[in-house]
Amino acid sequence: MSESTQVTAATTPEPAPAKKGKVPLSEGKRAERRLGLWLIAPAAIVMIAVTGYPILYSIWLSLERYDLHFPDQQKFIGLANYGAVLSNGYWWTAYGVTMFITIVSVIIELVLGMVLALIMHRTLVGRGLVRTVTLIPYGIVTVVAAFSWYFAWNTDSGYLVGSESAPLTSTWPSIFIIILAEVWKTTPFMALLLMAGLALVPEDLLKAASMDGANAWQRFTKVMVPVMKPAILVALLFRTLDAFRIFDNIYVLTTGQNDTSSVSMQTYNNLLKGLNLGIGSTMAVLIFISVAIIAFIFIKVFGTSAPGSDDGGKR
């Protein structure tokens, strides 16, 4: 029974030089790889087919003169389209409007969303009710909500305006109504993301902070916000990129009249109203570059971890 093998507690052997010859993967491992590739193949093929080729095609189109009114004149013109767009006042107005709407609405949404998140997180009564109704703006079709605001601010029918004024016919009032519509629709989404962040703040931490003498505001700024920072940054990233693409609300509320057009609106107009594929594609590429820069700034400067960018660990 007491047969025994004595092994000296030798110092760890010199790590043998890693063999270059690949260790054959076992059947299980190979099956796993095969299955993984088979499972992602359909999704990957669809995503690449519907985006990959069109993106390249779009870049190509942006280098061509291509107006469907004059299909015969289609021709490679290098960067001329970019020159035309970037020297165009309408484009820059639209760019300014888009940036303004994006920044203002995201800031308002952050503040309102935080308030709403705190309400949903802390309320003593009707928690389910509050959460349910706040999902309505999130879920409702943007165009429907836009029509509601349109009818509300419209001179003829609106309960919010007198018969004299016509806010949707001048630039700044229109822009603020667009921002209102945007904020109303997307604040709940922001609030939900922030609420998920709030749930990660340990109750004990807040208790400890109040024992340490922090008042409610200090608990919020010194404890909750730092702990929630990742959630806040992800919410901001999502919303900023989304706001930059604004289209539906403007289309319904002003159709881009009176200098209220966004870059998406401009692209759409050049493409489907003007049927100018070259210019439309150029704008599309410029928007894509802008979005990439915004994402880059968030990820590099603010250190937002892109959602899902963890290595998809198995644990």
Partner: protein
């Protein structure tokens, strides 16, 4: 039922880290073998390699003489019990236990018969139609066992199956696992970090450290003849006391004073070419209240009792002995595993197990005796036990 042979099994991760290094082990048919060691010693990796859940980097794994390195887990005919039990929450207890049989396309009548039989053995008949979520920890553990035994596999692998149970239940389940294994006679490989489980359950115990096998043997043998400092410190509770010592003319000089070694020990030390500076190890039960010992050879010293724990059957007395402490990599690792690295030690802490009739009082000095024939001597450089005998 099967014989399992690990032939120089090595696990190297893609980043070059060596998790398990050249483990050689022959597990006989029907044997209950324990892999034990602190966390990160490679015991779970070894188990997963036997299971087929992890690839073997080098070496060969044979079950009943057949190489199975490349076989998928399902083709190895081995059952496993997980630490978290891994019960399928959407299936009833019955469905959980029947699952492996269904996958093996066993006919319905046989499935029912086998599940009922297993439920009978494990006392789960009343719970067959409940979902795992509604069971207690002990019941879940038994369902996990049930799922393993229904298909009469060649071997059971158990990965810390009792560590999620509370202390009392763990002791009960330990007994039933042992009984069940004897009853079924199925080869079993059991992983634990708990040396008590290792001592009480296994036919043989494999102590691992840093991916290397330290010693293989029966629990009693490991306790009495640890191959090195690590095994000596790991096996046994409370742990063996270690003191720095010097050996001169057959006398051992430690912070406890000088003691003449017994002839047996002296001969062993000479045979092993013991260096002058070494580490002496004494188990707690080899100390005694000097008043209760008469005429037995041994050393004696006087120290103040720091803490006294009366267990009823005996008393644990804790002392601090001034002077140097014994330190080696092994001892540091053991201390880290026990979570006591950051206790500042101004001397060696000694644990002794005294007879219940001892008159020790906390805070009072006490005369102590220790058995000079039970001292073990270790080489501080290699950690090797100099008093080891086959």
């Amino acid at each position: 039922m099967a014989e399992i042979v690990l032939d120089k099994i090595t696990k190297r991760y893609p980043d070059g880290a060596l998790a398990v290094s050249e483990v050689d082990l022959q597990i006989a048919d029907g044997e209950f073998i324990i892999l034990v060691g602190p966390s990160g010693c490679g015991k779970s990796t070894t188990l997963n390699m036997i299971a087929g859940l992890e690839d073997i980097s080098e070496g060969e794994l044979r079950i009943d003489g057949q190489r199975v390195n490349e076989k998928a887990p399902k083709d190895r005919d081995i059952a496993m019990v997980f630490q978290s039990y891994a019960l399928y929450p959407h299936m009833s207890v019955r469905e959980n236990m029947a699952f492996p049989l269904r996958l093996a396309k066993v006919d319905d009548a046989t499935v029912q018969a086998k599940v009922n039989e297993a439920a009978e053995i494990l006392d789960l008949v009343a719970h067959l139609d409940r979902k795992p979520g509604n069971l207690s920890g002990g019941q879940r553990q038994r369902v996990a066992m049930g799922r393993a035994i229904v298909r009469s596999p060649k071997a059971f692998l158990m990965d810390e199956p009792l560590s999620n149970l509370d202390a009392k239940l763990r002791v009960q389940m330990r007994t039933s696992v042992s009984k069940l294994q004897k009853q079924l006679g199925t080869t079993t490989v059991y992983v634990t970090h708990d040396q008590t489980e290792a001592m009480t359950l296994g036919d043989r115990v494999v102590v691992l450290r840093g991916g290397l096998v330290q010693q293989v043997g029966s629990p009693q043998f490991l306790y009495e003849q640890p191959a090195n400092l690590f095994v000596a410190g790991f096996i046994g509770s409370p742990a063996m006391n270690f003191l720095p010592g010097t050996l001169e003319n057959g006398a051992l000089n430690t912070p406890l004073g000088t003691v003449t070694l017994s002839d047996r020990i002296r001969r062993l030390a000479e045979a092993a070419n013991a260096p002058r500076e070494l580490i002496a190890g004494i188990r707690p039960e080899h100390f005694e209240d000097a008043k209760l010992v008469e005429g037995k050879p041994g050393g004696s010293f006087t120290a103040t009792v720091d803490v006294l724990e009366s267990m009823g059957s005996d008393k644990y007395a804790y002392f601090t002995v001034e002077g140097e402490t014994a330190t080696t990599a092994e001892l540091d690792e053991l201390a880290a595993d026990a979570g006591s690295t950051d206790v500042p030690a101004s001397g060696s802490s000694i644990v002794t197990r005294l007879a219940a009739s001892s008159g020790a009082v906390a805070g009072q000095p006490l005369d102590l005796w220790y058995d000079s024939d039970k001292i073990q001597l270790f080489d501080p450089a290699s950690g090797k036990n100099l008093t080891y005998t086959e």
